[in-house]
Symmetry: C2
Subunit: 317 residues, 2 copies
């Protein structure tokens, strides 16, 4: 299999044409939106696969690994729902377990799932357990919403704003991959990202129409907005939120910026909105990092920047 | 991992306690049922895993393997929805693809998915693609319903009835596993089971309260009804529907009966219902195979029969 994840998805999904007038948003955005009895339901799904998303040996360096994998399995799906302005409701969890899967690790995973359920007020309603030579965990989540934000609704003159900080997750992954001394904040940002449910919901309530979450990297996901909305996006490096923990880990803000721009798996939100909403948007915790204009491409400090992503098919290699 | 699938699920799910008053049926039945704006939504999920549910080498004996895996991925989830009386609506498909996954096989899988979508009027609304050393395919399905049938609602004096024929699927699996000459009907009954949506919906409409589908074997799934309803079930071997193709494959009806009782993956429905509904139930395609009474256990021709199942964790070994 030589195709990257993005090519493969787009090639295969062209085959699937089973339309329904109830499907408001189908394959291609962060999650699907369907209309049910006058309200909207958001549906999304994610998988964590051994040796692709995590390595079991990390447990030697970070014993709570499976607890946090349980949390992550839920929070990355919740982030998709949050990025559309929805609130998560129900989850289905499938386990693919191998002969090497240890019962106590799976119990820790379920402890993590259970705690994340309580934190995000999600009910796990079912699931299936199957044998698999490669261990994997799969979650499907539904959420509810009175509307939805889409990647494709950015407009010229909009401002671009984000939640949280960027690059921490990539540094956390690097620490685990390279078996470095654990820097707990960064490792937990990789294994236990905060899904921005409150911020997404409040942005939608304020009337924001364009949103996504950053799973593939800040620049990459700005490109998904730029391309699907047919707009140019300018961002400014000094505006990009970066944690002091990341700067301390890599040494300088300049090096931290590379992690922030291209790192991936931040699970922060990006929204674009008309300037008149600026004060309200800042009040609910977003920070402005750029502007939208007519044209195409993503520009950093005035220079066009390449669309480089974080490809999950190649992430833990 | 020494636990069987059933023990593992029950052990781990005890950990998950994130209740919601909207969850009408949680973990443990064929699918979950949640209440949404006054109607019911059914949610279920299944996975097909290489070397657990299929072997890629079967393609040498049966070149259309991946097309039918695509159909099966959808139809086994649809069967869960059908067993509760619901009608399927939306699906999410996750692919775990390996370096050995061949693009043309995945295209065939998507062709199968796409055709099954049309047959069952399901819309695929999203999905995720991840790298996995072991290839797997995962589907989550939602359905709608005005009510639901449960395993736990069998009552003494009810009759027991089923759709279709039993044992074909197990014979189809055997043909593939032992690389025997393809008997197309039997192999397709394993790879392309018919989800009984119409029959399930009509049974529910007639007022039937107890239903399940046969994924683990007729006897095993009769036991799930018997145990969760606290009743005794008597069935009669001459009443059990067996196809002429299966009898021809194994030689005698007596040998075919063993496949029918313990085979698994039939994806036919079992319902129990009061005798006054008999004529209507027969008219919608069910055949009576037994009766419910006070007591416990499953009896064949008057003799207690052991609870032997088809454990998916050990299925393709």
């Amino acid at each position: 299999m030589k195709l990257s994840e993005f090519e493969l998805i787009s090639k295969l999904t062209r085959k699937l044409s089973c339309p329904s007038e109830k499907v408001v948003v189908g394959i291609g955005d962060d999650a699907a939106v369907v209309k049910l009895n006058g309200s909207y339901q958001i549906i999304t799904s994610d998988a964590l696969v051994e040796n692709s998303h995590y390595k079991r040996e990390w447990i030697n360096n970070f014993p709570e690994l499976y607890y946090y994998l349980g949390r992550k399995l839920l929070s990355i799906s919740i982030s998709d729902v949050a990025s559309m302005g929805g609130v998560p409701e129900f989850a289905i969890i499938n386990l693919g377990v191998s002969n090497q899967s240890e019962e106590e690790l799976l119990e820790a995973l379920y402890d993590g799932l259970s705690d994340a359920c309580k934190d995000y007020r999600v009910s796990i309603v079912g699931g299936d357990t199957v044998a698999s030579e490669t261990e994997f965990f799969d979650s499907t989540l539904t959420g509810k919403s009175k509307g939805y934000m889409l990647r494709s609704l950015a407009k010229p003159k909009d401002l671009v704003a984000v939640t949280g900080t960027f690059g921490d997750s990539r540094a956390g992954l690097e620490i685990l991959l390279e078996n470095k001394p654990i820097e707990s904040y960064l490792v937990k940002r990789f294994l236990d990202p905060s899904a921005r449910v409150k911020e997404g919901k409040e942005a939608l309530t304020l009337g924001v129409q364009c949103g996504t979450d950053v799973s593939d990297g800040l620049i990459f996901n700005l490109y998904t907005i730029s391309e699907s909305s047919n707009v140019k996006i300018d961002i400014f490096s000094e505006k990009i939120p970066i944690s002091k923990e990341l700067i301390s880990y890599v040494g300088t803000r300049e090096r931290a910026l590379q992690y922030a721009l291209f790192g991936g798996e931040d699970y922060e939100l990006i929204i674009t909105f008309p300037e008149k909403l600026l004060n309200s948007i800042e009040r609910i915790g977003f920070k402005v990092i750029g502007v939208v204009s007519e044209g195409n491409g993503v520009f950093l400090d005035g220079k066009r920047i390449k669309k480089v992503g974080f490809d999950h098919l190649r992430s833990v290699e």
